[in-house]
């Protein structure tokens, strides 16, 4: 398991098998996020911590592919739904489900939208991004000979992924011309989720495709130029996705 503080990545030897016992044995940081050593469904939360400058313990479980093997299988009985991520706080909160976690953190820091309506717009965008993200996961998990098929399924003109990207470009543009952020006047969780789940992965596996989306492309640049995000991206571990 790799355990990093928010500001420096260090590899430490695995804790005792009982993840919960380990947590009790050590001084509980204000926030502890446990997930695979992936961006996937926890990176939006990590980006939220980065952009707000909130220290947290960034615990990473080894990930070698799908189906999941190794370390996770030994410890998964400690997790309520046998899944990660999990967010723990010094007050004894233990929260599961990636969106519940991200929304909780975003709300604590005022990055989930200002009004109930803005929050709903953020939520709508989050859910749609997550559905599209599944197409990319299938690509990453595919055997080499299947990858071209999954690639085409994702990025085809008529694919559900492309329809989602079209909708996101439209929504962004509809927000005061699209040269700001998805919702309201400032960066929210929706922008960070787009970056980590979609934009980042598209840049990695099919950068030309993003050129079809000028407003989303410049949103990516805008996000990456936030100093705290730039810093985080430079130091975070390289991962499969």
């Amino acid at each position: 398991m790799i355990k990093s503080a928010g500001s420096a990545a260090t590899t430490t030897k695995p804790p005792t098998e009982n993840h919960l016992l380990y947590a009790l044995e050590n001084t509980m940081p204000k926030y502890k996020l446990t997930y695979f050593n992936l961006k996937a469904r926890a990176e939006d939360t990590r980006l939220l911590f980065a952009v707000t400058g909130q220290d947290y313990e960034d615990v990473r479980i080894e990930f070698t592919g799908y189906p999941v093997t190794g370390e996770f299988l030994d410890i998964k009985h400690n997790f309520l739904f046998r899944e990660v991520p999990v967010l723990e706080t010094e007050d004894g909160v233990r929260l599961y489900q990636s969106h519940a976690i991200a929304r909780y953190v975003a709300t604590e820091f005022g990055l989930a939208g200002e009004t109930n309506l803005e929050k709903a717009k953020v939520d709508m965008i989050i859910d749609s991004i997550d559905e599209a993200f599944s197409s990319l996961v299938w690509y990453y998990f595919a055997e080499d000979d299947q990858k071209p098929i999954k690639f085409k399924e994702a990025f085809d003109d008529q694919s559900s992924f492309t329809n989602c990207m079209d909708s996101l470009e439209r929504l962004l543009t509809a927000n005061k011309g699209g040269d700001g952020f998805f919702v309201g006047d400032k960066l929210t969780w929706a922008d960070l989720k787009f970056h980590s789940s979609l934009g980042d992965n598209i840049k990695r596996i099919n950068p030309d495709y993003l050129k079809n989306y000028p407003k989303l492309s410049s949103l990516m640049d805008r996000i990456e130029n936030v100093p705290a995000i730039k810093t985080w991206m430079a130091k975070r571990p390289e991962t499969m996705f």
Binding site: Q97, A100, K121, D123, M124, D127, S128
Partner: protein, 208 residues
């Protein structure tokens, strides 16, 4: 005066918790049901932000994605817990219910009867105890489990659970809640809620 408009197919599905939310809150809305043959032209019209349903329209406001809609209305009607933490627990329970609901739903789509029976046995052995066991625990931890999932009052997580539970006997070939007494009692309690009872009596009767 703008009126809420909810559009979905003529099924319960992922819109039913929203309809139940309106019922419990005692808020009027237009319960629009699109027929399958209408949907292609509706979708092509560009009215739907992500080309999907359900969608909530309220004056200028247009919201897609069932949980975004449910959460928005629950916040408006005070049915989403009191604190950020309570809301987060509601979200966690809702997302878990969605996960197990999708696993069950996917199994149900299996055409091969033998494979379906195998998958059903597997899900009853693994995912059902994992999810339902966890949810039963969460309910029990909330002051003994004779109230609701989160806090002191009904939230949309309870309605989502109730709505999903209507499918369990059909999809799992048994009332799986018999093994999860607090959840079963919660389901029965919601079933007796006067406004839910009224809705169940008057809603269109659909197989799904």
């Amino acid at each position: 005066m703008a009126k809420y408009q909810l559009s979905y197919f003529n099924i319960k599905g992922i819109a039913e918790p929203i309809r139940m939310l309106f019922a419990v809150a005692g808020v009027e809305y237009e319960d629009i049901r699109i027929q399958p043959e209408q949907w292609p032209s509706e979708k092509a019209s560009g009215k739907y932000p992500f080309g999907s349903m359900p969608i909530l329209v309220y004056g200028d406001i247009k919201i897609a994605q069932s949980f975004a809609i449910t959460r928005y209305l629950a916040n408006e009607f005070g049915l989403n817990g009191k604190t950020n933490l309570e809301k987060a627990n509601v979200d966690m329970i809702a997302d878990a219910l969605k996960d197990i609901g999708e696993k069950i739903g996917k199994l149900f789509q299996e055409q091969d009867e033998t494979k379906k029976a195998e998958k059903l046995a597997e899900i009853k052995r693994t995912d059902v105890p994992t999810y339902f066991g966890a949810l039963e625990g969460i309910l029990k931890d909330n002051k003994g489990g004779d109230g609701y999932f989160v806090g002191d009052d009904l939230t949309w997580a309870d309605l989502l659970f109730f709505s999903q539970s209507e499918y369990y006997p059909m999809m799992l070939n048994e009332d799986v809640l018999i093994s999860y007494p607090k959840m079963k009692a919660l389901r029965d309690r919601i079933n007796e809620h006067p406004r839910i009872k009224e809705w169940l009596e008057k809603r269109p009767k659909t197989e799904y």
